[in-house]
C-alpha cells in the first residue's frame, strides 16, 4: 500500500509550534516594554489598563475568529458596536434601567449580525460585500438614532457593575476571560464549533453530510453580532457613554489580530488562543508606544511592519515545521 510513516507533522504539534512562535513575539514585546519603561510597565495598574483596553477588542476578535474560520469575513462589527452602544444609551432605553439596556444592546448586536448572516447565507451575497453594506448602514443608523450626540450613561448601577471589580480583577477583564473561554469551548468542544470548521473547510461537503450550512452561517454571523453587542456594553461602561463613533476600526483590528493569531482567511483553520495572543500583541504595542511617548504616526508605521513580520515569521515557522 502506498501509505508511509505519517508524511506531515501531527496537527497538534504544528499548532503548538506556530502558537509558540506567536507567544515568543508576545514575550519579546513584554521585554521591550519592561526595558524601555522599567518603572511603569510591569505594574499591576498598567496590566489592568492593558487588559481593560484589550477586553472590548478581544471580545470582537472572538466573534471574528468564528466568522473567519467559517470562511467569511465581517467588516461590520465595529459599526454594529457603535449602533448597539447608541441604542442602549438613548434616554428612552436608559429609562428602563440597566437590565433592559444590556439586553436590548445585545439584541441589537445579534439582530444586525443575523441580518448579515441571512444576506450571506440565503441572499448568497459575498460576506465582504454584505458586511460592507452593514458597515455603512449601521454607522448611519447609529448617527441617526443618537442625533450624532454622545449619550452619557446616567445609570449608576450599570456603571457600578461594569466598571467595578470582582476579586480584584475588573469586570471588563472578567468578561473577556469568560468570552474567550466560552469561545474556546464552543469552537473546540461542541458540534457548533466542529460545524464551523467544516463549513469553512468545505461547505459543499458539509452540506452533503446533511448539515444545514446556510443556517449555520447565519448563526455564525449572529454570534459575531452578539459579541459586538457585548463589546458595546463594555465600551459604554469604559467610556461611560454611547456614541456612533464607538467601535471605529474594530473590524480591522480584529481581523488583523485573528490572522496574526494564525487563523487562515480561507477558512477551515484557526485557534482561539492565537486570536487572544494576537489581540494582546496589538494592545501591548500601543501601550509600549504610549509609555515611551511616541507619536501615533510612528506607531502606525511600526504596526504595519509588525503585522508583516509576524505573518512572514509564521510562514517561516510553518515551512520549518513542514520540513522536519
Amino acid at each position: 500500500m502506498p501509505e508511509r510513516p505519517a508524511p506531515r507533522a501531527k496537527q497538534g504539534l504544528g499548532v503548538d509550534l506556530r502558537l509558540a512562535s506567536l507567544f515568543g513575539v508576545l514575550v519579546l514585546l513584554i521585554l521591550i516594554g519592561w526595558i524601555t519603561s522599567p518603572d511603569n510597565f510591569l505594574t499591576g495598574s498598567n496590566l489592568d489598563t492593558i487588559l481593560r483596553l484589550a477586553a472590548p477588542s478581544g471580545v470582537v476578535a472572538v466573534g471574528m475568529t468564528f466568522v473567519i474560520i467559517s470562511g467569511g469575513i465581517d467588516l461590520s462589527v465595529g459599526s454594529v458596536v457603535g449602533l448597539a452602544s447608541v441604542w442602549m444609551t438613548t434616554l428612552a432605553t436608559q429609562s428602563y434601567g440597566p437590565f433592559v439596556m444590556v439586553v436590548t444592546g445585545l439584541l441589537v448586536g445579534l439582530g444586525a449580525g443575523l441580518v448579515n448572516g441571512l444576506l450571506i447565507a440565503y441572499g448568497r451575497m459575498v460576506p465582504f460585500i454584505a458586511t460592507l453594506a452593514m458597515y455603512i448602514s449601521a454607522r448611519g443608523l447609529a448617527e441617526y438614532l443618537s442625533n450624532k450626540q454622545t449619550q452619557v450613561v446616567r445609570d449608576q448601577d450599570f456603571l457600578a457593575f461594569f466598571r467595578g471589580e470582582f476579586l480584584g480583577v475588573p469586570t471588563l477583564v472578567w468578561i473577556l476571560v469568560i468570552v474567550v473561554a466560552a469561545g474556546w469551548v464552543l469552537l473546540n468542544r461542541t458540534t457548533f464549533g466542529r460545524r464551523t470548521f467544516a463549513v469553512g473547510g468545505n461547505p459543499e461537503a458539509t452540506r452533503l453530510a446533511g448539515i444545514n450550512v446556510k443556517r449555520h452561517i447565519a448563526f455564525v454571523y449572529g454570534f459575531a453580532g452578539l459579541l459586538a453587542g457585548i463589546t458595546a456594553v463594555m465600551l459604554a461602561a469604559r467610556t461611560t457613554a454611547g456614541s456612533s463613533t464607538n467601535g471605529m476600526f474594530y473590524e480591522l483590528d480584529a481581523i488583523a489580530a485573528v490572522v496574526i493569531g494564525g487563523t487562515a482567511l480561507t477558512g477551515g483553520r484557526g485557534t482561539m488562543v492565537g486570536t487572544l495572543i494576537g489581540v494582546l500583541i496589538f494592545t501591548l504595542i500601543t501601550n509600549i508606544f504610549v509609555q515611551n511617548n511616541l507619536p501615533t504616526e510612528v506607531q502606525n508605521i511600526a504596526k504595519g511592519a509588525i503585522i508583516v513580520i509576524a505573518v512572514l515569521l509564521q510562514f517561516r515557522t510553518n515551512k520549518a515545521r513542514a520540513n522536519t
Partner: protein, 327 residues
C-alpha cells in the same frame, strides 16, 4: 454675544441669536448654502444643529441649504460646487481642511457669492468675505495660563502637566498645542506626557488610560475637547486618579455642569463654542440683505470675527450655561 437662554431651550439646546433693532425685521429673502465636515462628533454636530436652528429662527427671510457631512476634502469641494450651481446667495463653509477647500471658496467668491468662512480658515482672504471662528492658539494659551496659575497657587514648582490633544493632523490641534506650550513656557513649565485622541469618547478614553499609566503622578491635564472629555474622565475615574486638576476644551454642557458641581478633577474648560455657527448664519443673512451689524458704526459687517475662548470655572459657570453645547 446675544444669546438668550430661553431661546436656547426652545431650540432643543441649540444656541440661536436673535436679530436686534432693525435687523430683527424680516428683510429680503436670502438663500444660504451651508457646508460642514461629517458630523461625527459632538462639536461639529452642534455646529450643524446651531446653523439649522438659527435659520429656522429667521425662517421669514432665510432658506438654508445644508449639505453636511464628509471627511473627504474632494467630496466637500463637490458639495460646495453643488451649492454654487444651485445659485445660493451666501455660502457658509466650515471646511474639512481650510487649505484644501480654499480653491472652491475662492471660486465662489469669484462668481459673486460671498463666503462666510466658519472656523477652519482658508489659505487666503480672497476665498472669504468674512471669517468667523475661534482662536485656537489663545484657547491653548488660556488653558496653559490657567493651569500655570493654579500650579503657582498650589506652590508646585516642577509640575507634571499632561495633554490629551485632538486629531493631530488638524491645524487647529497644532495651534492649540502651540498656545498651550507657549503659555506654560512663559511660566517656566513644560508639557509632559502628550497623547492625541480623535475627538471621540472611545479614543479619548484609550489615550488617557494609556497616558495615565505612563505618568504615575500628574499635576495637571489639559484635554482639548470636551466631547472626547467624557472618555478622558471615564479613564481617570477607572484609574482612580484624583491627584491632579483637569482643564477641558470647547465647553460642553456636560463638562460645565461638572465644573459647577466641583466634585471631579475637572476644574475649568476653555470655550470654543459652536455658537459661532449660529453667528455665521446671522452674518450670512445680514450679508445677503446688505445690512451691517447693529451696534457697530460700520456699514458692512466686518471681515474677521474671532470668538473669545473664555475660561469657564466654578465661579462663572452659570454665566456660560447658554453657550454650552450637548456633546
Amino acid at each position: 454675544t446675544s444669546n438668550e437662554p430661553p431661546a436656547a431651550q426652545a431650540n432643543g439646546g441649540a444656541n440661536v441669536a436673535a436679530g436686534q433693532g432693525d435687523n430683527a425685521k424680516a428683510g429680503k429673502m436670502v438663500t444660504i448654502g451651508f457646508s460642514a465636515p461629517a458630523a461625527d462628533h459632538g462639536w461639529i454636530a452642534a455646529i450643524t444643529k446651531n446653523a439649522k436652528a438659527q435659520a429656522e429662527k429667521f425662517k421669514a427671510d432665510v432658506t438654508l441649504k445644508a449639505t453636511e457631512g464628509t471627511n473627504d476634502a474632494s467630496q466637500q469641494i463637490a458639495q460646495v460646487e453643488t451649492l454654487i450651481n444651485q445659485k445660493v446667495d451666501v455660502l457658509v463653509i466650515l471646511p474639512m481642511d481650510g487649505k484644501q477647500l480654499t480653491s472652491v471658496g475662492q471660486s465662489a467668491m469669484d462668481k459673486g457669492i460671498p463666503v462666510i468662512n466658519l472656523d477652519r480658515i482658508f489659505d487666503t482672504p480672497l476665498a472669504y468675505r468674512t471669517w468667523i471662528g475661534g482662536d485656537n492658539y489663545r484657547m491653548g494659551v488660556n488653558a496653559g495660563a490657567y493651569i500655570a496659575a493654579e500650579m503657582k497657587k498650589k506652590g508646585i514648582s516642577n509640575p507634571v502637566i499632561g495633554e490629551i490633544a485632538g486629531i493631530d493632523s488638524l491645524p487647529l490641534t497644532q495651534d492649540r498645542s502651540r498656545g498651550f506650550k507657549d503659555a506654560l513656557a512663559k511660566a517656566g513649565f513644560a508639557v509632559g506626557p502628550r497623547q492625541a485622541a480623535e475627538f471621540t469618547v472611545e479614543t479619548g478614553e484609550k489615550a488617557t488610560a494609556n497616558l495615565l499609566q505612563a505618568a504615575p503622578k500628574l499635576d495637571a491635564l489639559w484635554n482639548h475637547d470636551d466631547d472626547q472629555g467624557i472618555g478622558v474622565m471615564a479613564a481617570i475615574s477607572a484609574a482612580n486618579r484624583k491627584e491632579f486638576i483637569m482643564v477641558g476644551g470647547a465647553g460642553s454642557r456636560n463638562m460645565i455642569d461638572k465644573i459647577k458641581a466641583d466634585s471631579d478633577v475637572i476644574k475649568a474648560t476653555v470655550l470654543y463654542s459652536p455658537s459661532m455657527s449660529s453667528s455665521a448664519i446671522a452674518l450670512a443673512r445680514l450679508l445677503g440683505q446688505a445690512k451691517g451689524m447693529g451696534d457697530l458704526a460700520e456699514h458692512e459687517i466686518p471681515a474677521l470675527i474671532t470668538t473669545y475662548s473664555a475660561v469657564v470655572t466654578k465661579e462663572n459657570a452659570a454665566q456660560y450655561a447658554d453657550v454650552a453645547f450637548d456633546s
